[in-house]
């Protein structure tokens, strides 16, 4: 796994004729030219010429020479700080202008400032500028930083230039980092297959090497190969098949991940409902609006922190979680005491009354904060993406999956082992007996509803990170939440988890075939059929509780 920044791709990749030129030169350097040292061209001299082609050739040659002076000289050339002797001289001196004076380009030693009248700035034409870009890419192939080397090797792989073979071989000989070596070998294989040289065995080995890489680019590369010997061609086509297979698997994994990610969002929205609707049997149509209140609490907390404690800015969300729990929880207790408690045992009336409440909450938020979306920021530790094989996982989604599971786990633990949890279960299972044991059932009712609402508020904190914080936030989740709770089975948190994941994954799998809207419709139809088949959910409660 490699943490890659979300924005900022690598620099322009060396490709095309410059790579060819570079590698042609390199071949010259390492191969034939080596036999006759006398004819070895001096890259510095080439750079100092006034002919653009030769100058570009010099730049490239310098880049692959491995000379420690390559980087500063090329940088100086790019920045217009490289100066040559104006008049013909056999040793063609080159100087780099620094803040304090001049240094010799070849050695880096400080030299006495030559008279400006003798100096000529080395001109950078478009051709040379391209060569500089390519050269800087190749420079990285020999840099100290393995990440830079890897990037450069990737670039070579993508250009798959047949002329790159010699350069890659040189780099391979020096390379020590196994990851970079692998990329270099892949780059070598790609270049080899594109070139006319190489034995059949070499080619077969290259195909094998590439098949292991198995991404879309490799597939396209293999598919573009032509004029291969029959054995190689058949190896290529079977490699393409293999890659297609692997890609399909990755695509499947990606869909599952997106599904889980959507499922986690649904789970967050539905967990609170699993308490109020699942455990208490209260149809709370204002549930979505309580989620919205949580999201707005996040907004307010972020604003307060920005105003009073800017140092804590990136931890605003951590403060928002308890704040949202409290605000939404208190709101829930208030709703239970003033409204819900008069309507126990009358679910249809509860439905209508809480629907009315949801309209009031929406309008209240609209009146206070305005109808437009509020800007809730994401802390830096929640942005970015993880690369896992062929998968790109966005960090904020990962956090939400984790958070949803955490909330569910905490809630389960609280219900199982917590004092309030024990009372809640007691009241749910046998209200009169619980009352006889001294549990104040009305208080527990209020607290249970508060708990469910508080969790809805926490869900709002998470949703504020991925959705628009607007007065309509809740409406988007209410139907989905009910579907999750109903599919999972009322009063069963494991069922809620499974219901959310199933719905999320089904939704994401249907989406590519049918489009987002049709997927939604199909899920709803699925739900309608599902309720018909299993009116009590996936995990119906059994025994006395079910009959009560």
């Amino acid at each position: 796994m490699v943490l890659a920044p979300r924005e900022g791709r690598g620099r322009a990749l060396p490709r095309g004729s410059f790579v060819a030129a570079l590698l042609f030169l390199l071949t010259a350097l390492c191969g034939a030219a080596r036999a006759d040292e006398a004819t070895k061209p001096d890259p510095f001299a080439d750079i100092a010429t006034t002919t653009a082609d030769i100058e570009a050739r010099g730049v490239l040659a310098l880049a692959v020479s491995g000379s420690p002076r390559a980087a500063p000289v090329i940088a100086a050339l790019r920045d217009g700080k490289l100066f040559a002797w104006k008049w013909p001289r056999p040793d063609t001196p080159l100087f780099i202008k620094t803040d304090s004076g001049y240094v010799d380009a070849r050695t880096g030693d400080t030299v006495d400032a030559p008279a400006p009248v003798n100096l000529r700035k080395v001109i950078v034409s478009d051709a040379v500028r391209g060569a500089i870009e390519t050269a800087e890419g190749a420079l990285d192939l020999f840099s100290q930083d393995p990440a830079a080397r890897r990037k450069s090797a990737e670039a070579l792989y993508q250009s798959a230039d047949p002329g790159a073979l010699a350069l890659i071989d040189k780099a391979l000989a020096e390379e020590t980092d196994p990851a970079v070596t692998r990329v270099l070998r892949e780059a070598r294989a790609a270049s080899l297959l594109k070139s006319d040289s190489g034995s059949e065995a070499d080619r077969l080995a290259a195909v094998k090497e590439l098949a292991a890489r198995a991404d879309l680019q490799t597939r396209n590369l293999l598919a573009s190969l032509q004029g291969q010997p029959p054995t190689v061609a058949s190896a290529v086509s079977s490699a393409i098949n293999d890659i297609d297979h692997t890609l399909q698997l990755w695509g499947l994994a990606e869909n599952v991940y997106y599904g889980i990610s959507l499922g986690a969002v649904l789970l967050l929205a539905a967990t609170g409902l699993a308490i109020t609707f699942g455990v208490m049997g209260v149809i709370n149509m204002a549930h979505g609006e309580i989620v919205m209140v949580g999201a707005y609490t996040t907004f307010v907390v972020q604003r307060l922190i920005a105003a009073f404690a800017p140092a804590l800015d990136q931890f605003g969300l951590l403060f928002a979680i308890p704040a949202a729990f409290l605000v939404a929880g208190l709101l829930g207790v208030l709703i239970e005491r003033t409204l819900i408690r008069f309507l126990y045992g009358r679910p249809l009336e509860t439905l209508l009354a809480t629907w009315g409440l949801s309209l009031i909450l929406q309008q209240a938020v609209r009146s206070i904060f305005g109808p437009t979306n509020q800007d809730v920021s994401s802390p830096p530790w929640m942005s970015g993406a993880l690369q896992l094989g062929g998968l790109t996982l966005t960090v904020n989604r990962l956090w939400i999956i984790l958070f949803a599971l955490l909330v569910l786990g905490a809630l389960m633990a609280a219900l199982r082992w917590g004092g309030l949890g024990r009372s809640i279960r007691a009241v749910t299972q046998n209200r009169r007996m619980a009352a006889a044991m001294g549990i104040r059932t009305p208080v527990i009712d209020a607290l249970t509803f508060g708990l469910g609402s508080g969790i809805a508020g926490i869900a709002g904190v998470a949703l504020s990170q991925i959705d628009n914080v607007s007065p309509n936030l809740g409406q988007n989740y209410i139907i989905d939440s009910f579907i999750v709770v109903v599919v999972g089975g009322v009063g069963n948190l494991w069922g809620t988890l499974l219901g959310a994941m199933i719905l999320g994954i089904v939704d994401k799998f249907v989406e590519p075939f049918a489009g987002a809207v049709l997927a939604k419709i199909l899920v709803l139809i699925f739900l309608i059929l599902f309720i018909q088949r299993r009116p009590r959910g996936l995990f119906p409660l059994k025994g006395r509780v079910a009959e009560a």
Binding site: R346, L348, L352, W355, G356, I531, Q532
Partner: protein
């Protein structure tokens, strides 16, 4: 005319009121103080269509205990059927002057009329369709839902999911119903131009007559043997089943009939407001329609009509005078009516005077026993 006062009063109000308004609109000069302006007529026509929808909801909620949160879907489907006829009626007068294809189809590049648009150029075909299409959907839905004994809140939520799914579907352009713009720019109906005052008044009168007829039909139905079984199903479904009745069949019949009434309501609504689009399917609309019934008094028929008219009067006034307040008001109405006025306005009167009692009693008992049924 009828033995109970409430029916007489209701019919008198609907028909008499509509006639009076139409006369004041058409027969008085524009400057006269007694003149009723045209917008009032179309507004009243709209209310009457809403009242038809409310009546349909009361039939299933008040008498069969099915709290539907998706009746707006049947209303909108009826409206769409009428809209399709009105679209075809435009003919070559559209922007693209295509004699067969409606403008929006030309716009998205369709070459032929899809099969489900065939026949809608005939009024005599479209009119029964406004009832048949909702009836078919209701039958399919009810067949599954009632046979597998989905009831109570679950049924409510899937009716809501149904209308939500339809809304999403109709928002799609390739459904062939105009996408999110829906259908509008209607020119005339059976050759009569829609933009004249006389047409508005005529449509309003027709709506009143249809409402009165639907009211009488519903009244006759709920007072028949069939209606008595229905009430028994509402109050104690299992017990009725044990007595040898098949509750699902009774529910299915009243459900389909109710959908047809809602459909014809929608069909009358579209030419009067001049537009139909997918937002009519919004779940919020359907739930709002339920509250009309609750305000007037559930299980009283007359109450549904009263509630629809009163709430919409309030809505018209509030949304223009104090738009900020409207959602607070309707929200508060939901809460207050369920908490303090479970029997609605009619129930309030029924408690005082015994003359109107015959109809109001089931409504009063409804809330309690239905609640017991669902809770138990």
């Amino acid at each position: 005319m009828f033995r109970d006062k409430l029916t007489t009063i209701t019919l008198g109000c609907i028909l008499g009121g509509a006639l009076l308004l139409a006369a004041l609109n058409l027969l008085t000069p524009g400057a006269s103080a007694a003149h009723v302006p045209g917008f009032v007529i179309s507004l009243v026509g709209k209310y009457l269509c809403y009242a038809i929808l409310a009546l349909a909801i009361d039939l299933v909620w008040g008498y069969a205990g099915i709290l539907t949160l998706g009746h707006g879907a049947f209303f909108a489907l009826g409206g769409y059927c009428m809209g399709m006829y009105l679209m075809r009626e435009i003919g070559a007068r559209g922007v693209y002057a295509n004699p067969i294809l409606p403008d929006f189809m030309v716009f998205i590049g369709w070459k032929e009329l899809p099969w489900y648009w065939q026949g809608f150029n005939h009024f005599w075909f479209a009119l029964p369709m406004t009832m048949l299409v909702p009836a078919l959907l209701a039958f399919g839905f009810g067949w599954f839902a009632f046979r597998s004994r989905v009831s109570g809140v679950y049924l409510s939520i899937i009716t809501q999911a149904l209308t939500y799914a339809l809304m999403l579907a109709f928002f799609r352009n390739d459904m062939g119903f105009g996408g999110n713009n829906g259908m509008t720019d209607f020119k005339d109906i059976v050759g009569i131009p829609l933009n004249s005052e006389a047409t508005s008044a005529g449509l309003m009168l027709i709506s009143a007559v249809v409402l009165a007829a639907a009211f009488l039909l519903a009244r006759a139905m709920t007072r028949s043997r069939f209606g008595k079984v229905l009430i028994a199903v509402r109050d104690a479904e299992s017990r009725t089943r044990f007595l040898g009745y098949r509750p699902e069949s009774y529910k299915l019949v009243v459900w389909v009939l109710s959908a047809m009434i809602a459909g014809i309501g929608g069909a009358l609504y579209v030419p009067q407001v001049g537009i139909i689009n997918p937002s009519e399917f919004a779940p919020g609309n359907s739930i709002e329609a339920v509250i009309w019934v609750a305000v007037g008094g559930r299980g009283t028929l007359a109450g549904a009509i009263l509630g629809a008219v009163l709430v919409n009067l309030g809505k018209t006034w509030l949304t223009s005078a104090l738009p900020e307040v409207w959602l607070f008001a309707i929200g508060g109405l939901f809460i207050l009516v369920t908490l303090l006025l479970p029997r609605g306005i009619i129930g309030l009167f029924a408690a005082r005077s015994t003359t109107a009692g015959a109809e109001a009693e089931p409504g009063a008992a409804a809330a309690k026993s239905a609640a017991r049924e669902i809770a138990g």
